[in-house]
Amino acid sequence: MEFGPYLMLASLEGAVTAAVLALTAVGLSLVFGIMRVVNVAHGEFFMLGAVLAWWVSSWFGGPAAVGFIAAAVIAPVLVGLLAAAADMTLLKRIDYDPERTIVVTIGLLYVIQQVTLMTYGPEARPVEPPFNTRLALPWFEWGENGFQLYWPWGLSTTSYKLFVIAAAAAVLAAVWLLMRHTKIGLIMRATQLDGEMAQVFGIPVERVYAFTFGLGAGLAALAAVLIVPIQQAHYLMGGDPLLLSFIVVIIGGLGSLPGTVVAALLIGMSDGIISVFFSPTLAKILATLLVALVLVFRPQGLFGTRAA
């Protein structure tokens, strides 16, 4: 294969990574933006989403599509409820103190991980994709007859991968609409801007926090449900999404939704492309270097606003 088709293949893989990463990172960013909580357990909510997806889809049995749709609905809701419960029983008790929430969410990370190991076990298990048609992709060349399309051998993707990209984009658009154009979004933004004054105007800030924490975890779980037909569910799978989400959120600017999406595209795409042409390790090295540069030259992130 020539360079062009290769690049296209790598970009598609990168776009899948970017789509899932954007969902996960937006969850982390929402929680930080509104609650000022650095949720170290975010990757475990991602992992729980994948594991629950396996449980739900294998419990339903039947056609793959039924199990997958059930998993896509049930797993994020369950994870969201669990996170909301964790907020009300743990984070609220320590008054959302910045340092102590980090310690508490580290504890939560290990509890979720070990409980999953004890119940689900150490195996990696796949979830069957609802559809998975191989799609050959065309490339073009300038031949004797001028512009021509042809189908190079090996240049293909699957319908499911395209679905992951589209689904993630749709969910991100829904989150944006929720934040910008609904009453819930207005309440969440008011809480973010001034929690005390929000209470003066009748906003039950504690419930907004529980909802936000649940929503953030639910988004991570949904991202995992989308990726689990490609990657398999495993109790240690939360590490990478957590690290990459933090990288994305720092580059994009903590609490900025557009910044998070742009940074996820940047990191996801470059991760995909560099991994194909060079090595995955180099991709991580470059991403980490980018974080370092952002922290030095633009600490508020690319799209963040400087704290007053």
Partner: protein
């Protein structure tokens, strides 16, 4: 209308208010005076529920509101215009007012009434609150509180840093609200401004409510004022 009995509270371990009792009647402007740190703002935060009470009770229209969580207090009819205005800066004027309306699920007619008092805000509805001038921000903070249809309005230094024409505009609105029967608790530094509009004055000192005077009796009685405010 609003009655504080033996209210004590503070921040963390530090007690600020000690057994403060005072009442604000419907259609009255009641002013809190005192030096910095006397507990004026703390009194307001105690009424809004932002500071939990250590002791004492707060009644509004006979109903106890001192034990309610902060988000329930606003729903009973306590409007708060805090020091420094504290608007939702990144939200638009319209959105700030909508949050006010949501507090007690008030109708759009309530917002229209608030906007009639501050017509200038109508031209700014789509503008972000943080881009308004200081005077417009104070108007918005007032209009936002009025959107909650308050029975009691708490105003913490509403004229701080404003130009004279704006101070007059704010004062006119306060006087109008009084004539409509709203109970108003006002914290204000400028004693001449206070004596011009207030009906009664309570002096706070070191977290104690020392004396309450009719404002009419204070005019020309500078000994009392100097005792609590002089340096």
């Amino acid at each position: 209308m609003l009655e504080l009995s033996d209210v004590s509270t503070g921040y963390g371990e530090a007690q600020v208010l000690r057994d403060v009792s005072l009442d604000v009647r419907a259609g009255e402007i009641h002013c809190l005076l005192g030096r910095n740190g006397a507990g004026k703002t703390t009194t307001m935060k105690a009424i809004t529920g932002l500071l939990p009470l250590w002791g004492g009770t707060i009644h509004l229209d006979g109903a106890e509101i001192g034990a309610l969580p902060a988000h329930r207090v606003g729903q009973t009819g306590v409007g708060y215009i805090p020091q420094g205005r504290r608007l939702f800066g990144e939200l638009t004027v319209a959105q700030n007012l909508e949050i006010g309306l949501m507090t007690r699920r008030s109708s759009a007619a309530v917002r229209e009434r608030a906007l009639d008092l501050f017509p200038r805000l109508r031209e700014r509805m789509g503008q972000r609150a943080q881009t308004l001038s200081g005077g417009e921000q104070q108007m918005l903070a007032t209009a936002r509180a009025l959107c909650t249809e308050p029975k009691v309005l708490l105003l913490d230094e509403p004229t701080e840093g404003l130009q004279p024409s704006m101070i007059a505009a704010i004062r006119d609105v306060i006087v109008q609200l009084r004539s409509e029967g709203t109970a108003i608790l006002l914290v204000e530094q400028r004693i001449d401004a206070v004596l011009a509009v207030a009906d009664r004055v309570t002096f706070l000192e070191n977290g104690h409510a020392r004396e309450t005077w009719a404002a009419a009796d204070l005019r020309g009685n500078h000994a009392v004022i100097d005792r609590y405010l002089g340096v």
